[in-house]
């Protein structure tokens, strides 16, 4: 079959077009091809090749293709477009080094990039992210403080274009083996993760890694994705992606406490997919992240390992208050749920549970709980701390909260603020035990133990126990074992599971009458 079309006004030089012609002629299913400006000479050549010369002027480009028996016209025409694009780009690359692009749109125009990563200040992130969607690219929005209506608009645009928006405020993703933002080095495996929680995702990935299970991808969707106004648009899109991926055997959705209606819808949506799904949705009475990881392993018929721990157990309990100093918001949430009040178990978010009941770690089932935990990210408004971030009570401070990161780097990168607070808490006679997280992976501080271990040693020397949740994989650049050993040598009890760390810290709070 012969095909001839004329591209009015398109122009490329003859050498380029000869290269394009050769490339198309050798592509699958094509017996002959000529892409050329429609000069009289070229039209004669075309006729000589057995094509009907079109009505065209020398200022038009003519595309002539002879298809073989198994040739597809669409495929051949795409080959023409691809060859023209390659010719343009190759030439651009050979030119003198150019100044960097100034917008996501113009950078994507000249790039094969599969993904845009946007981390400009929040008020500007929407514009850059829309560039990515307009260029048919997925986008990860690391930026926080994007107005809600912009998030909704961004995600509806993405849904229409069958693209994925990760974020806003997406701290973690793993795509095609590449860690984005704060991400742990994971191995390939059967689990596809969708996470509306950065450190929640990291905890899950690291526990699965320690259980010998890797992932196909981890799509962060932003902490608000499962809220009522956003409605889980990105979660659904990410689930669809994973469902279409033959290597993904199990989809796991991890979220901070979701809106119940959205959770219900997503569980119902999961039922329409051919890939089974597990939901790990934090909330009072819901399984914690470690229990979630155990359920995932069970669903894959993998044994649940003893979660790694390092260091000597502290000698004795101490009367006073639990003081949690966190980098990860979800880890802080989880710790508060575990340590907090018992009365709220089993109420919310039941809709989310489809999997087998790995009931080992429900928030209501610890040996004991401490009662109200005050926080800068409180579980309920009356538990909020004032600006001093101090109170004679059990405290959990999230140093990664927006209010504490304004004008400074995230505490996973810059530990200064938390180290100062650690010293202050160690000196406070009311402090019973200190609970901290240390998060490893790409993007995080290259050696967090170097700064932290001396402060830990000073604290334990005073007789104040320190419990650390260490979130990392063996392949992380910081060296998981080295970090764990350094912290354990400083006297800390170190746990791979934040839930286990929290329970241990709770157990270390003496019962001898709080003031």
């Amino acid at each position: 079959m012969n095909h001839v079309d004329v591209r009015r006004g398109a122009y490329a030089d003859s050498v380029t077009l000869m290269q394009v012609s050769r490339s198309v002629a050798t592509s699958h299913g094509v017996d002959g091809a000529m892409v050329a400006m429609a000069t009289p000479l070229n039209l004669d050549l075309l006729a000589g090749m057995g094509f009907e010369p079109p009505d065209a002027s020398p200022n038009d480009m003519v595309v002539a293709i002879r298809l073989g028996p198994d040739g597809e016209l669409d495929e051949a025409l795409s080959a023409v477009d691809a060859a023209l694009a390659v010719a343009r780009r190759t030439r651009a690359a050979g030119a003198v080094e150019a100044a960097p692009h100034r917008t996501t749109a113009t950078a994507l125009r000249d790039s094969d990039a599969t993904l845009a990563l946007v981390s400009v200040p929040g008020p500007y992130a929407f514009v850059e992210a829309m560039d990515a969607l307009a260029a048919s690219r997925d986008v990860m929005v690391f930026s926080d403080n994007m107005p809600l209506e912009q998030e909704i608009r961004l995600k509806s645009e993405a849904a229409e274009r069958d693209l994925l928006v990760m974020g806003p405020d997406c701290g973690t993703a793993v795509v095609g083996g590449l860690g984005l933002g704060f991400a742990n080095a994971t191995r390939p495996g059967p689990v596809g993760v969708v996470a509306a929680s950065g450190t929640g995702c990291q905890q899950l990935l690291c526990l699965l890694d320690s259980g010998g299970v890797g992932i196909t991808a981890a799509f962060g969707v932003g902490g608000r994705d499962l809220s009522e106004p956003v409605g889980g648009v990105s979660t659904r899109q990410a689930m669809r992606r994973l469902d279409a991926d033959p290597a993904t055997e199990l989809i796991v959705v991890v979220s901070k406490p979701p809106a119940a209606t959205v959770a219900t819808e997503l569980v119902s949506y999961a039922g329409e997919l051919s890939t089974p799904a597990e939901f790990v949705l934090l909330g009072a009475g819901e399984p914690d992240l470690t229990a979630g990881a155990e359920r995932v392993l069970a669903a894959l018929d993998r044994p649940t390992p003893a979660w790694p721990r390092w260091g000597e157990r502290a000698a004795s309990t101490r009367v006073g208050y639990l003081r949690g100093l966190y980098c990860g918001g979800t880890l802080c949430d989880e710790a508060m749920l575990i340590a907090g009040q018992a009365g709220e178990t089993g109420q919310a978010g039941q809709a989310g549970q489809t999997g087998q009941a790995g009931q080992t770690g429900q928030a209501g089932q610890t040996g004991r709980q401490l009662g109200p935990v005050r926080s800068n990210i409180p579980l309920s408004p009356e538990l909020a701390l004032d600006g001093s971030l101090t109170a004679p009570a059990h405290l959990m401070i999230d140093f990664g909260d927006d209010a504490l990161t304004a004008g400074r780097a995230h505490p996973m990168i810059d530990p200064t603020l938390r180290l100062e607070r650690l010293a202050a808490e160690a000196a406070d006679p009311d402090t019973a035990v200190l609970l901290l997280d240390v998060v490893l992976g790409h993007g995080a501080h290259p050696d967090p133990a170097a700064d932290l271990a001396p402060e830990v040693a000073a604290t334990t020397t005073r007789g104040v126990p320190v419990v650390i949740a260490l979130v990392g994989t063996a392949a992380d650049p910081q060296d998981l074992e080295g970090q764990a050993t350094a912290l354990a040598d400083a006297g800390a009890e170190v746990f791979a599971s934040n839930a286990e760390a929290t329970r241990r810290a709770v157990a270390l709070v003496g019962t001898g009458g709080l003031r």
Binding site: R7, R102, T103, A107, P123, G443
Partner: protein, 474 residues
């Protein structure tokens, strides 16, 4: 097809370096964007416009319409015939202007035109008539499908190039170029200036008409393609274009008239390297006019100056002009002239930049850069910078020194506001005082504030409706 989940990822990173570093550390390709905050006060409007549901398709449509146009030279006729101008009707360059606010060269050109049309004997006596508006009317060329270089004054007896898009039949018009130095378009109106204009009306115009009617139509857009490969950028350098026009019209000219007149005409055209500018401009306008009035489009469809104001029109905002004070170009001066002698920016010729030629294709014309006070690397950098504020690359105008990359075309108001990069214009400089003429040539940019003003209007009319297939469906 490649599996999107498992193909080798590569990233464009916009924002903090640390995240790009982490990608780099994993040996994945990463392109870093040199992001900077947008022009002050544009944050909200940029977000609104970025979220306008119509914008991507509207801009694609505007670009497509612009690029689909071929400009063919089809005729040469007097302005009274082409545009219906009466003896006291004058067109001028740029956005609308009154005599009171008109600059020296604009006034000089209008005074000369009054004398040319016989409204006064002496141009010096035309001022009262122009000031009171008795017997005369002023209107922008752009409002009549026309463009004019520098003062751009068009009067009834001047002969106009007629360009037509064969697909649509739409036409644009431009006067014949008078040459350099003391000429009406630079505000000169001495007797020799008027004598030359009369010769152009009585001899050159009719000769060209006969020649074009015999030899035409001539594909001006295609000549522009060749010009960029021959060292012209079609605004401040039109040498090869002028010669190609002579080549195409020469035989018909010889056949068209008395030998003495023909020789004089060819001598005149060949002696004026800018002769083709007056074909490049209406060709660009013809293309850009096709892109007008696409709702939601943020593409600039005209940039024009009247010597006092610099104005732009945008596809999505109809006929409204967004204006600010015209700047004084920076460049080189003729003879003893200096910056104090130069008038602020003037002329419709920035239509060439609007279409992707002139300053936007400066890299194609290394010979021009020293004339406008730059270096060859400057020229390359200028054209490259213009890709950051344009929507498309021209499929037929390409830049040899950038490995034949298509010229940056279709200025996006939004990208200008985001990057703070303003369009680069190559221009001639008129003397500040009426009657002086050209004093130099150089580079100029629009007043930056007109782009946020246009953006605000685009934001005010944006479609903010949530889509039917919004957040709750998939």
């Amino acid at each position: 097809m490649t599996d999107p989940l498992h193909r080798e990822p590569s990233v464009v990173a916009t924002g903090v370096d640390l995240l790009a570093d982490a990608v780099d550390a994993q040996a994945a390709p990463v392109t870093r964007v040199d992001w900077q905050p947008p022009m002050p006060g544009t944050d909200d409007d940029l977000a609104t416009v970025a979220g306008d549901r119509r914008r991507p398709a509207a801009n694609a449509e505007a670009v497509r319409r612009m690029l689909d146009v071929s400009a063919h030279l089809v005729d040469v006729v007097p302005a009274r015939e082409a545009l219906g101008l009466g003896a006291g009707d004058f067109l001028h360059a740029g956005p609308p202007i009154t005599w009171e606010r008109a600059s020296g060269p604009m006034r000089g050109a209008l005074m000369g035109a009054c004398a040319l049309e016989g409204l006064v004997d002496d141009p010096e006596r035309a001022a009262p008539m122009l000031a009171t508006g008795t017997q005369v009317s002023l209107d922008p060329c752009h409002h009549h499908g026309a463009v004019g270089p520098m003062a751009g004054v068009v009067s009834a007896s001047m002969w106009m190039w007629v360009l037509e898009d064969p697909a649509s039949g739409r036409r644009t018009y431009c006067s014949l170029n008078e040459g350099l130095g003391k000429v009406l378009r630079y505000g000169a109106y001495s007797p020799d200036v008027l004598d030359r204009l009369r010769w152009m009306s009585t001899t050159l115009g009719p000769l060209l008409q006969a020649a074009v009617r015999r030899a035409g139509p001539i594909d001006v857009t295609a000549i522009l393609t060749q010009m960029l490969h021959m060292g012209d950028e079609a605004h401040n350098r039109n040498r090869s274009g002028t010669l190609m026009l002579l080549r195409d019209l020469g035989p018909a000219l010889v056949d068209a008239g008395a030998s003495g007149d023909v020789a004089e005409a060819i001598r005149f055209i060949g002696g004026n390297d800018h002769f083709f500018l007056n074909l490049a401009m209406p060709a660009c306008k013809l293309a850009l006019d096709a892109a007008r009035d696409v709702e939601g489009s943020t593409m600039v469809v005209a940039m024009a100056r009247n010597g006092t104001d610099f104005g732009i029109q945008v596809s999505g905002t109809g006929d409204r002009w967004f204006t600010g004070p015209a700047q004084v170009p920076e460049g080189l001066y003729l003879g003893d002239y200096g910056p104090d002698d130069a008038n602020p920016d003037i002329g419709d010729s920035a239509i060439t930049e609007t279409a992707g030629l002139g300053g936007f294709s400066m890299a194609a014309a290394p010979a021009i850069v020293r004339f406008v006070g730059g270096t060859v690397p400057d020229a390359l950098a200028t054209t490259r910078r213009m890709y950051e504020i344009t929507l498309a690359e021209s499929p037929r105008w390409s830049v040899p020194t950038l490995e034949f990359r298509g010229a940056p075309t279709g200025i996006d108001v939004s990208l200008v506001c985001r990057t703070g990069i303003v369009p680069q214009i190559n221009t001639g400089m008129a003397g500040r005082v009426a009657g002086v003429g050209q004093v130099g040539a150089g580079l100029v940019t629009p007043p930056a504030e007109i782009f946020p003003a246009a953006l605000a209007e685009l934001a005010a009319s944006a479609d903010r409706q949530p889509s039917a297939s919004g957040a709750r469906s998939s």
